[in-house]
C-alpha cells in the first residue's frame, strides 16, 4: 500500500478511473479499525462501472464523475453474518438488537448519499414539492437518517432549513461517546461501531450542508438554559416532581419543537413550518402542538441492503436525470466507518479511502476541501493526479505529516529490499567500521527526546538512559555522532537534520523509514548491505559482530531487514510477496511442517518463512491476516496455554507505549503473537473454501 495522501473527491476520481481500467467490476468493503477484529473488512457488495466506451480512460473518468455505476448491495443476512465474525460476537441472539442498529445505520448512509430515498409519510409526500416557501426544522434523526439530505437535494430552495443547536449538541455527544469508547481498554466492539456510524456520519451531514451544498442553513439559539438539564440529571426537587430529569431525551425533543414553534411565531402569516423527524414521539408532540411534521419512517436495513442501486437516477419530482458521483458515495461510507476500500475483482488492485484512524490527522482545511486520506495498491496516479494541470479542483494532495503503518501486502518502491551492486560476501566485515553497543530501546528514547526538546544536557541524557555516570553515554554518543545525527556543543547534545525523520519513523512504527534514516550510521549501513547481499537462507557470519551482536540484531529485526533465528544466525528478510503468492507459500510451508495431525507450531512456521523465504514474521503476520480476509486461505489456530518451552526463540519489534518508542520482545512459540486477542500456539492453514 502506498503512503496515504490527502485527496479531494474530484482528485480521487482520476485514481478511481485508473482502478477501473483494470476491470469495471469491483468489490466494496468498509472497516472500523478498532471495532473489527484482525483488520477485517465488511463486504458490502459488487460495484460495476458502466462507462461509455469500455476501457477508454476519459470514459472511465466520466463514468466515475457522473455516477455511471450499478451497485449490488449485499443482503441484510449476509452483512449480519459478516458482522458477527468481525465484531467477535459470541451470542448472536443477545446482540441481535445492536446488530440491527448497525445494519439500519448502514442503510442510513445509503439514504444520506442519495442512492435511496427516505420513506415519507404519505400526507407529507402529498405536499411535495413545496409550492411556497416552507421552513423545515430538522431533528437529530432527520440529520442522521438522510431526511435532511433529501430536503436539501429535492425541496430546496422552496424549503429553508433550520438546524436547532440541540441537534449539533446531540451529535457532538455521540462523537464524545465514540471517542471514549475508542480509548477504553476493553473495546465494546458493537457499541463502538454504532457510535462511529452515528457520530461521524451525523457530523458529516452538518458539515457537508454547511460547507459544500448551496443550501442555506439557519441555526436557532439555545432557548434559555436547558442544555445543562438535557445532558445531565437535574436534582432540583421541583423538577424531579415533574419527572423531567428522567426524560432527558424527551426534553431535547422538546427543545427542537420549541425551535420550530418559535420560528413559526416569528414568521409571516401563511409561512409554513414543518418538523423533519423519524421520531414518532416527537412527530406526535408536534401534531398536538400545531406544527406539521415532515415525518419519515426510521430507515431500516432492507431499505438499502440487498438492493441494486445506481448513481444515475431520476428526480423524484421533476423527472430529470440526477447524477451522483461515485466519490461522493465513497466519501460518505469512509466517514461513517473510518475506511472504505474498492478492490478490483482479481484482488490485485486496491484503493482505500480513510477518514479516521490511528495516526491520521485532521485539520479544518480538510473539511473545507472535503479531503480524505487515500492509499492504493498497484494503481498508478495516486500521487501524480495531484499535480495534473487539468485538474479543475486546484487542490494539491498533501502527504500526511506522519506515515501510516500499512497493513496491505505489496512490494512498493519504499519497501523494496536494499540492493547492493557487486556485493557478494555473506561475511559481516567490520574491519574499517566501528561497532557500537548501545541499548536500542534507550537509544530510541534519546532520539525521541532530542526531537522533542531540541537539545539535551548530559545530565538529561543520563537520566533518559538511566545510566550511573556519563561513561554510560559513550556508546550512544558515538553511535549517533557516527551517523551525523547529533553534534555536541558546550556539553549539550544538539539534533542534526536526520533526527526528525528518525523520530517520526519511531513514532509511526514505520520500519522502512526507520531503516532509511539509520543508513546514515556506517555500522548499520554495513549490516544492511551485507544482509541485502546474502542469498535467502544463508545466515550472516557473526564473527565481527560479537561485541554489538544484541544491538545490531535488535536493529535488524526492528527495521525488518533480518531476523536472528536461535542457534542459526541472522537471516535476511527482504521479501514481501503479494497476498496471492503468500497464500501459496504459507500453505506449502505448512504442509512441509505438518506431521500428519493437521497442526504445526506457529513459531516453527514463522521461522521457516524467515529461513527459506526471507519473510519477516511481522510481514508474515500481516500477510496472513490479509490473505485470510481476502479469502485466499483459511487459517485456524489452537492452543490456549502459553507455550514457554521455546522461549529463547524471540523476535524484537518496535512498538509505542505511552507515546514513547518501545522494543518489545516477542516469543514466537508462545502463541500470543500471530493473532491479537487469540491464542495461536498451533496453526492450521488450508486453501480457500471451494
Amino acid at each position: 500500500m502506498n503512503a496515504h495522501v490527502l485527496k479531494s473527491p474530484r482528485e480521487a476520481e482520476r485514481v478511481l478511473a485508473e482502478l477501473f481500467s483494470h476491470g469495471t467490476r469491483c468489490e466494496l468493503s468498509v472497516r472500523e479499525d478498532k471495532a473489527f477484529i484482525n483488520d477485517g473488512w465488511l463486504k458490502l457488495g459488487e460495484l460495476t462501472l458502466q462507462p461509455e466506451n469500455g476501457k477508454d480512460k476519459a470514459a472511465l473518468l466520466d463514468g466515475v464523475h457522473r455516477g455511471a455505476f450499478e451497485w449490488r448491495v449485499n443482503a441484510c443476512d449476509s452483512v449480519e453474518s459478516d458482522l458477527v465474525t468481525l465484531l467477535a460476537v459470541d451470542d448472536r441472539a443477545k446482540s441481535g438488537a445492536k446488530l440491527r442498529r448497525i445494519i439500519d445505520s448502514i442503510a442510513a448512509i445509503g439514504v444520506r448519499a442519495g442512492l435511496v430515498y427516505p420513506q415519507f409519510d404519505p400526507h407529507a409526500l402529498e405536499m411535495m414539492p413545496f409550492r411556497r416557501s416552507t421552513t423545515v426544522v430538522a431533528d437529530t434523526s432527520g440529520a442522521i437518517q438522510g431526511g435532511l439530505d433529501f430536503v436539501a437535494r429535492h425541496l430546496h430552495p422552496a424549503a429553508r432549513i433550520k438546524v436547532p443547536a440541540i441537534v449539533q449538541m446531540e451529535i457532538v455527544n455521540f462523537a464524545d461517546r465514540f471517542l471514549s469508547c475508542r480509548r477504553a481498554t476493553r473495546t465494546r466492539r458493537a457499541d463502538l461501531l454504532i457510535d462511529h456510524l452515528r457520530s461521524q456520519g451525523g457530523q458529516r451531514v452538518l458539515l457537508r450542508l454547511e460547507l459544500s451544498a448551496d443550501t442555506e442553513i439557519e441555526r436557532t439559539f439555545l432557548l434559555g438554559d436547558p442544555l445543562r438539564s438535557a445532558f445531565q440529571k437535574d436534582y432540583d426537587p421541583e423538577l424531579s416532581e415533574l419527572n423531567l430529569s428522567v426524560e432527558i431525551k424527551g426534553y431535547a425533543d422538546r427543545l427542537i419543537l420549541e425551535a420550530a414553534r418559535q420560528h413559526q411565531a416569528q414568521a409571516n402569516f401563511g409561512h409554513k413550518v414543518q418538523l423533519l423527524t423519524s421520531d414518532q414521539g416527537l412527530a406526535r408532540m408536534a401534531l398536538a402542538e400545531g406544527i406539521a411534521p415532515l415525518y419519515f419512517s426510521s430507515v431500516v436495513g432492507t431499505d438499502f441492503l440487498g438492493k441494486s442501486v445506481t448513481g444515475v437516477s431520476i428526480s423524484p419530482f421533476t423527472g430529470s436525470i440526477r447524477e451522483i458521483s461515485l466519490t461522493s458515495v465513497l466519501w460518505e461510507f469512509a466517514t461513517a466507518f473510518g475506511s472504505v476500500k474498492l478492490a478490483s475483482y482479481d484482488h490485485e488492485h486496491f484503493l482505500e479511502i480513510s477518514a479516521f484512524g490511528e495516526a491520521l490527522s485532521w485539520s479544518p482545511y480538510q473539511s473545507h476541501g472535503d479531503l480524505l486520506w487515500c492509499s492504493a495498491i498497484a494503481i498508478d496516479g495516486l500521487l501524480q493526479a495531484n499535480s495534473d494541470p487539468d485538474d479543475a479542483s486546484g487542490d494539491d494532495g498533501l502527504q500526511p505529516e506522519e506515515r501510516i503503518p500499512t497493513d496491505d501486502a505489496v512490494v512498493t518502491e519504499d519497501a523494496a529490499p536494499i540492493q547492493v551492486d557487486g556485493a557478494s560476501t555473506p561475511v559481516f566485515s567490520s574491519s574499517k567500521t566501528t561497532i557500537f553497543r548501545p541499548n536500542v530501546e534507550k537509544l530510541f528514547l534519546l532520539i525521541d527526546a532530542l526531537d522533542d526538546r531540541q537539545k539535551l544536557s548530559e545530565d538529561e541524557a543520563i537520566k533518559i538512559i538511566a545510566a550511573k555516570s556519563s561513561g554510560g553515554l559513550d556508546e550512544y554518543r558515538r553511535f549517533l555522532t557516527s551517523g551525523g545525527l547529533i553534534r555536541i556543543e558546550s556539553g549539550e547534545w544538539q539534533p542534526e537534520a536526520g533526527i526528525k525523520p528518525l523520530s517520526i519513523a519511531l513514532r509511526t512504527e514505520e520500519p522502512v523509514a526507520l531503516r532509511d534514516c539509520l543508513l546514515n550510521v556506517p555500522s548499520f549501513k554495513m549490516l544492511a548491505d551485507n544482509l541485502a547481499a546474502l542469498p535467502i537462507g544463508t545466515p550472516l557470519s557473526l564473527s565481527d559482530l560479537k561485541r554489538g551482536l544484541t544491538t545490531y540484531t535488535v536493529l535488524a529485526e526492528c527495521t525488518r531487514i533480518g531476523v536472528m533465528l536461535y542457534e542459526k544466525g541472522i537471516f535476511s528478510t527482504p521479501c514481501e510477496p503479494s497476498p496471492k503468492d503468500f497464500a501459496k507459500l504459507a500453505q506449502a510451508r505448512f504442509k512441509e511442517l505438518d506431521k500428519g495431525d493437521g497442526l504445526v507450531a506457529t513459531g516453527a512456521w514463522l521461522e521457516t518463512l524467515v529461513e527459506k523465504d526471507g519473510i519477516h514474521p511481522e510481514t508474515a503476520k500481516r500477510l496472513l491476516n490479509d490473505a485470510s480476509s481476502k479469502g485466499l486461505l483459511r487459517r485456524t489456530t489452537e492452543g490456549s496455554t502459553l507455550e514457554t518451552s521455546f522461549d529463547k526463540h524471540v523476535l524484537h519489534v518496535l512498538r509505542q507505549k505511552n507515546g514513547k518508542p518501545e522494543i518489545r520482545e516477542v516469543h514466537l512459540y508462545r502463541g500470543d503473537y500471530l493473532i491479537p486477542d487469540k491464542s495461536s500456539v498451533s496453526l492450521r492453514i488450508e486453501g480457500p473454501a471451494a
Binding site: E52, A58, D62, Q119, D121, S308, T310, I314, I321
Partner: protein, 157 residues
C-alpha cells in the same frame, strides 16, 4: 388539486406518467352535470391526485430481449390503465413488476442507454442511465411510502 383527466403541460415529452390518486371526500356535496343536465353520480367516486411523476426516458429501452420487454410493459401498464376502477389499481399491484424488474437487473438483462434528456449536451459523453433500474428505484420508493394508506390507487400511462 387537479382532477383526474387534467393534462400536464409537458405530457408530450413524457414516455411514462405515473399518478397516485386517493379517494376525495369534498367538505360539501358536489354535483356534476352533463350538458343535458343528467347527473353523473355522487361524491363517492371522486379521486384526488396526490402525486405525479413523468419519465422522459423509455423505461424499457435498455431491455434487449423483446419477450422480456413485453412482459415488463404488460406488468407495468395493463393493471394500471385509468379505465380500470381505482379499487383494482392498488399500489401493491406494482409488486409483480418490481420483482420481475429486480430479477432482470440482477440477471444482467438490462443495459445502459443514452438519455433523451441530456443527449445533446456532451457529444463525447452523453448522459446515460439504466432506465429500468432508475424506474424501479422510483417505484420502490412510492410503494414504500403509499402502500399502507387506504383509498390509494395508481394510474400509469
Amino acid at each position: 388539486m387537479r382532477l383526474f383527466g387534467e393534462t400536464m403541460a409537458n405530457e408530450n415529452l413524457a414516455k411514462l406518467r405515473i399518478s397516485i390518486w386517493k379517494d376525495y371526500y369534498p367538505p360539501r356535496s358536489l354535483m356534476l352535470h352533463q350538458d343535458q343536465g343528467k347527473p353523473l353520480g355522487g361524491d363517492d367516486n371522486l379521486q384526488q391526485e396526490v402525486y405525479s411523476w413523468s419519465m422522459r426516458e423509455d423505461p424499457f429501452g435498455g431491455v434487449a430481449d423483446d419477450a422480456l420487454r413485453n412482459k415488463l410493459r404488460e406488468l407495468l401498464i395493463t393493471p394500471f390503465e385509468p379505465s380500470i376502477p381505482p379499487s383494482s389499481r392498488k399500489v401493491s399491484r406494482l409488486r409483480p413488476f418490481l420483482d420481475e424488474a429486480e430479477a432482470s437487473i440482477a440477471g444482467g438483462l438490462t443495459e445502459w442507454t443514452i438519455s433523451h434528456e441530456g443527449s445533446g449536451e456532451d457529444e463525447d459523453f452523453p448522459a446515460r442511465l439504466n432506465p429500468l433500474l432508475a424506474l424501479k428505484l422510483q417505484l420502490d420508493w412510492l410503494v414504500r411510502c403509499f402502500e399502507n394508506q387506504p383509498g390509494i390507487s395508481v394510474a400509469i400511462r
